[in-house]
């Protein structure tokens, strides 16, 4: 199928890595909202400044699911500093590119990682990520 997505996107979409909730997460971030049609929730488990485990839940299009999945792969086992360097462009490139109209999904993925780290920092240091503010605030909060 010569669809809108690369094979890699389709692979991550059909077989997303690290899907689900993480019961012992110590950082949880959610970005996006139902109006735009994409919501990403990222769970991280940080130990000794290293992201030892990560999971995601996403409501959204193929690109939203694939970028979430790819982002989890890219930050797993990384230090917080390394994870914070993850850009949306890097996520998109790792997926062999995204259609232009779907680039915002990779931005969401980048922000989901940052939101999770922000939450972890708040919980552990009482202070969030300096300057962190996702493009769109979640409209509603769901318990997990």
């Amino acid at each position: 199928m010569a669809g809108p997505y690369s094979e890699k996107v389709m692979d991550h979409f059909m077989h997303p890595r690290n899907v689900g909730e993480l019961p012992d997460a110590n950082g949880i971030g959610q970005v996006g909202n139902p109006v735009c049609g994409d919501i990403m929730k990222m769970y991280i488990k940080v130990k000794d400044n290293i992201i030892t485990d990560v999971k995601f839940q996403t409501f959204g299009c193929g690109a939203a699911i694939a970028t979430s999945s790819m982002a989890t792969e890219l930050i797993k086992g990384k230090t917080l500093e390394e994870a914070l360097k993850l850009t949306n462009k890097a996520v998109a490139e790792a997926l062999d590119g995204l259609p232009k109209v779907k680039m915002h999904c990779s931005v969401l993925a980048e922000e989901a990682v940052q939101a999770a780290i922000d939450d972890y920092l708040k919980k552990t240091t009482g202070k969030g990520l300096p300057g962190f503010k996702p493009h769109e605030e979640p409209l509603e909060e769901h318990e997990h």
Binding site: G37, F56, F59, H142
Partner: protein, 390 residues
Amino acid sequence: MDAKRIYLDHAATTPAHPDVVKAMQPYFSDIYGNPSSIHSFGQEAKAALESAREKVVVLINARPDEIVFTSGGTESDNFALTGIVYANEKKGDHIITSKIEHHAVTECADFLAKRGFNVTYLPVDKYGMVDPMDVKKAITDKTVLVSIMHANNEIGTIEPLADIIKIVKEKGVFFHTDAVQTFGHLPIDVNKIKADLLSLSGHKFYGPKGVGALYIRKGTRIVPFLRGGAQESNRRASTENVPGIVGMGAACMIAQAEMATAALRETALRDKLIRGIMEKIPEVTLNGHPTARLPNNVNIAIKYVEGESILLNLDMMGIAASSGSACTSGSLDPSHVLLAIGVPHALAHGSLRMTLGRQTTVSDIDRTIEVLPPIVEKLRAMSPLKKGGK
């Protein structure tokens, strides 16, 4: 790749009927004259054009000189709106339409609004029905045109046209209907319902893409949309798409013969599909009217999941569906139609349209009912919206 692919997107477009394709063949390289030419090559093409025109009118009880061929539903809609409005500028500057019209109507109305005309977008009820009383209330002495679609392309709701037109004509206002989803599918009698203008598009009823028509009631003054040569009695310039028009004529003949049986058959399959999904998948609702509905339209809101991700999964299983109007894919906004009937944003994003056709079989429906639930389950498992989602 898969054994058999299942096409459930007939509202987006239909395959041309083999007899349609056959009818077109001579008009590419053999009878290729320009119908405006006086010589025999031209006159042969002209004869084919006029014969096709006679086939179109049969389906709506019109006269051949009331049909202007266009390039499709969009042009017909744009032509109707701008043509009537520009022809009646001295009379008034107000248009009434609904919130659930196809973009070919709303985008054109928006454009006219930007150029100084006034547009009222009527609301609809939760089924997508326009209330004729709302039309009555909206009409002012500046109103020149009311445009309400015959049936909605997304949710399939059939509008109470006869009642609406009765009110509109009592006020002496022109009435246009976008019948792109009903022409060739449901019986229409323009003289009984008293529509002044009606849009249709070939590729929605097994005719070719890139050809349509606008019915214009005899005596209705209209400003041309395409300007140039004197074709179509000075109402639509440009060399006529003779093969396309001949093909659409053939599609009309087939539709006339098959319409009634097809509607019955598709209604049964439609209801089977709706029932099957409702039984197998929790937390789904039917969008649109339960009975005043296109025979081939199923549109369901599936909680906690997003439409495109369902579509892609269905596509991997060989099933083609739509998550709204195909025309608006590429846009991030949820369907304006679903929002107009009060579906919340998340649910609007999670709506799935399946539109059946002449080739759809019972086993296609069975397979869809079998394939869809596990897809929804899988996506719900990864949804942050689903409580206790796992």
